[in-house]
Structures are given as C-alpha cells and as structure tokens.
C-alpha cells in the first residue's frame, strides 16, 4: 500500500475523531436516552486501556500476535464492563449529584491505581511495547490499517446505538430516563435496566481504550486526562444528546475541526501547536457545553423524534 500522500499525523487526527465518535455514541446511550450523566468516561476507557496493556505485556501468552490482541482486548472489555456494573450499582439509586461524584470518583481511582501500581503499569513513567496484531512492514501502513479497523468497530457501535432506538430495550431506557417512578410502577426494574446499559456501554468504552493502546503502542498516565470525557461530552451536547447522529455531527464540528482542520489546514504561528492551541481547544469545548445547554439544550440536531421513528416502524398501525 503506497501511503506517501498521507501525513502520519493526519492518521492520528482521524483516529482521534473516530475514537471520540465511538465514546460519544456510548455517552448518547447513557445521557441521551437513560439520563445518566457520566463524568468519568475516561475512567472506563482508561481501565480498558490499562487492562489491555497489562494483560498484553505482563502475561506470557502462548500464541501469536493476533490471538494475543483478541484475548487481551476481550479482557479489557470484560474489565471495563465489570467496572460499569459496579459503578452502575453504586449510583443506581443516588440522585444526579451522587452520579457526578460516583463517576468522577471512579475515574480518579483508575488514575491513582495506574500511577501507584508501578510494577504492572509503569506508573508515571509509562510502559512501551504494545504492538499491532499484524505485520506488513511499514509503520504507516500499520497505523492506517488500524485506523480502518477502529473505524469498523465504531461503525458497529453506531449500528448498535441505531438499533437500540428501534428495540424494546431502547424504549425501556427512554422510559427509565424520563420517569423512573412511573416505569417502576409498570413493573420495570429501573435498576436492572440501568445496570445492563452501563455494563454494555462501559465494556465498549473499554474496548475503545484497548484499540487506543494498540495505536499509541504504550501506556501513558497523561492519556488518562479529563479531556477524553470533555471531548465526548462536548461533541455529543453540541450535536444533540438524544439523537444517534448527535455524536457524529458533534465530533466533526469539534474534534475534527481542531485536530484535523485547524492543525493541518489553517496557517497558525509556530509554537501555537504545542501550547496555545490545545489549551484553547479545551476552553472552547467547555464554553460550547455552557452555551449549548443554555441556548439550545437539545443540540444542533434537536429533540428526540420518537413519533417519526414510530411511524417508520409501525406505520401500518
């Protein structure tokens, strides 16, 4: 594959876009449908990243690269899903304030463990040695292939979210999010519904973390930063929390704008890239959340359009 036309940094920019899109879609299921505000997205993603890295590097697997990746990615998914289950249980009957503290607290616990368990994670220094589960020769080809594979995973996540809207599961999540007490009185276990949703979405976040680990090929404590949570939340809120396409549109207008368009196609003074631009990016994301929620809380795409969807599904009623 001749990839000379492609800038290596552009691959990373695109990877970030795809990754945040995946996280945004999962936050859509949590916040948009079930009204669970997860301020610790980075924790679930990070626990996947670190579980993957530790399993990959610290266990002597008796099989080749591909199977090693698959097994370790499965471990990452399971660990993150279990974390989602535990955190979901923790916040299951607390109010929004408790949810904030529970999810934020979980993310902090992940960072602390990643920092202190140096023997496993390399602590603050980090740990190198992760690799791609294939070998074609050139690094750029590897990275580009990985971008494509990750894109496929995110497309699957999108398809899942799209389908959730069309199944009884999605209806239950919307009902629990909109009126938990009423859902309970109809015989629905709101707690079980939320736990299942948290387990599935957190597991997928963990898988994205593992995918990230392969791409950057190392564990770095700095990557467990609130900016992951921020990007996913800001993009989703900008696009529209209640719409499947909300995260897609939102990420294109936020992460893609900053990490691809401005970085590569707008002439900016030297030195800005390393300091001013990343800081400005976060400030703009934060401001976007505030302004959107005050002036257009439903996001650019607008409210959930349940009647239209129901007409498509049950038009012959």
């Amino acid at each position: 594959m001749n990839l000379d036309w492609l800038d290596a940094f552009l691959i990373f920019g695109a990877f970030k876009v795809v990754e945040i899109m995946g996280l945004g879609l999962l936050v859509h299921l949590q916040l948009g449908l079930t009204r669970v505000a997860n301020f610790g997205v980075v924790g679930f993603w990070g626990v996947g990243l670190y579980a993957f890295g530790v399993a990959y590097l610290k266990v002597d697997w008796p099989f080749g690269d591909l199977y090693q990746f698959l097994v370790c990615a499965a471990i990452a998914t399971i660990v993150a899903a279990a974390a989602g289950l535990v955190v979901g249980w923790l916040i299951s009957d607390l109010d929004d304030d408790g949810t904030l503290v529970g999810t934020l607290g979980f993310a902090t616990i992940v960072v602390i463990l990643a920092t202190t368990q140096q023997g496993l994670t390399g602590g603050a220094l980090g740990l190198g040695g992760l690799g791609f589960p294939y070998d074609f020769g050139r690094v750029k080809t590897h990275e580009f292939t990985w971008l494509l594979i990750t894109t496929a995973v995110v497309v699957l996540i999108f398809a899942y979210a799209w389908r959730v809207h069309r199944t009884p599961h999605g209806r239950l999540l919307i009902a629990v999010g909109a009126n938990e007490a009423l859902a309970r009185s109809l015989g629905k276990s709101a707690t079980a519904a939320r736990l299942r949703m948290m387990t599935v979405t957190s597991g997928a976040m963990g898988l994205l973390g593992a995918m990230h680990g392969v791409m950057v090929r190392s564990l770095e404590i700095n990557s467990l930063d609130v900016s992951v949570t921020l990007a996913a939340l800001a993009a989703l809120i900008l696009g529209g929390t209640a719409r499947v396409f909300g995260a897609v549109v939102g990420v294109l207008l936020t992460v893609a704008l900053f990490d691809i368009v401005i970085q590569f196609y707008i002439p900016i003074p030297d030195g800005w890239n390393t300091q001013a631009l990343p800081v400005a990016r976060e400030a703009v994301f934060g401001a976007a959340i505030v302004l959107m929620l005050i002036f257009r809380p439903q996001g650019l795409l607008g409210q959930m359009r349940r009647p239209a969807l129901m007409r498509r599904l049950h038009g012959d009623w």
């Binding site: 069309r166 209806r171 859902a183 129901m310």
Partner: protein
Amino acid sequence: MVTGEDLRPQILVSDVTKSFSGRVVVDVDELVLGDVPVEGLLGPNGAGKTTLMRLIMHSIPLDGGTVTLSRPGERDVLLSATRTSQMAGLGVVKSTQVITDFEHLTILDSALLAVTEARYERPFAAAADRTVRKRHEDEIRHWLDYFGFDDPLAVALSGGDKKLLDIVRCLLLQPAVLLLDEPTAGLSEDHTERVKAAVRQLASRGTSVVIVEHDLEVIWDLCDEVIFMAEGKVLLKDNPATIRANPTVVESYLGAGSA
C-alpha cells in the same frame, strides 16, 4: 381463573403506619381490600387515601406494619417486603393521581412498554419491536380504540389524554388488584363513562378494584362497598347506601344536602 365471590385477590393491610415529619398520615389497624369486586375509598383531603395506596405499592417506605397479597390458588406475598417494580408482575397495579407521562414516548410506545416481557428488553435481545407488537396487538388496539386515541403514533399532549393513557397502561397489565387514584378527574363525561364501564368489566372477570375518587357519582355508581377514612384511620366500611346516610360521613365530608 377466579370463580366464586370469596375467591378474589385480596390485600390485607395490618397495623400500617406512616408519618411525615412527625405528623401521622396513615394509621390503619386492619383492613381487607378485595372482598367485593369494587371498593371505594372515601374521605376528606388529608385522610391518607393516596398515601395508603402508595404504601400498598411500596413506592414509599412504611413506618410499621405489613401489607399482604393473597390470590386464590397461590401463595401469599408480603407486599411490604416487595419492590415497587415487582408489583405489576404480581398483578398489583395502580394508576397515578398526578398527571404523569414519559417525556418523548408516543402513545403506542407507552402501551407497548406496559406489555413487553422483560426478556425482550435486554440489551442484545434479538426480537424486534414488531415481534412484541404482534404478540399484544389485539389488546392494545382494543383499549386504544375504546378510549378513542385516533393517532397512537403521536405523543399524548392534553392532560386528559395522559390520564387515559395511564389507565390504558394499567389495563394492559391485566391486574389482579387495580388501585385507581382519581381515575376520572379532568375527564369528559363520555370518557368517564367509558372508564366506569371498563372497571365494571374488569371486576366482573375477577379483578379486585379499589377507587379513590372525589366525583361521588362515580363512587355511588361503581362501588359495592365503601371505606371511609379520616385522619389516617379507617372509620367505616359498609355498603354505599349506609355510608351515604351515616351522620359522621355527612357531617365531616359530604356536607348537608348532598345525600
């Protein structure tokens, strides 16, 4: 199916107490609900009718006492140790006094939500929405048509529609014991009559119905027995005619000239 008169599902309330910030709201020694098909719960504001119903549903915790469900041919269940979300599965269903609905969900959504079995609601359940619809289409269609919902694919907008939808949801759950908290408040005359007819039909098929209602015509019309509550206590339990003539009830609630 339930046959004889004495084989109805019953709810036994014993020694149940509840107070809010020091004020006793419910204090019921012994009360059996469901020995006749339709019972009315009557009493002045603050008598504890709604709170008693919430206590039965266990949507608020009891300070003391027990609530037991007994169904013919099945084991008794201690409702006061059961979660609200398990009540519907046991056949205990309650309509809500305040107008309430699921934001964003359409009328058909609400109906489908009520009838969907838990196994279809899991994250990776393979069945599509239409599978669920096929299984329950007849009953949903029946009740939606009965109450005159022309466009079930829209969101319920008016308070009356939301109130009716709440009752539809309850009916679709095929309750053994149905608690109705002011079911006809704010409804048109036609709709009130329809609700009454639906309640009669349900009761004739073995459901025990308990109604709290301020529209006394509904109570006198429907109920086989009336329970009079005041200040959290059950004062009287008798047939409607007797209650209507009782001096205490007339004085404290009905007012002179209403009989």
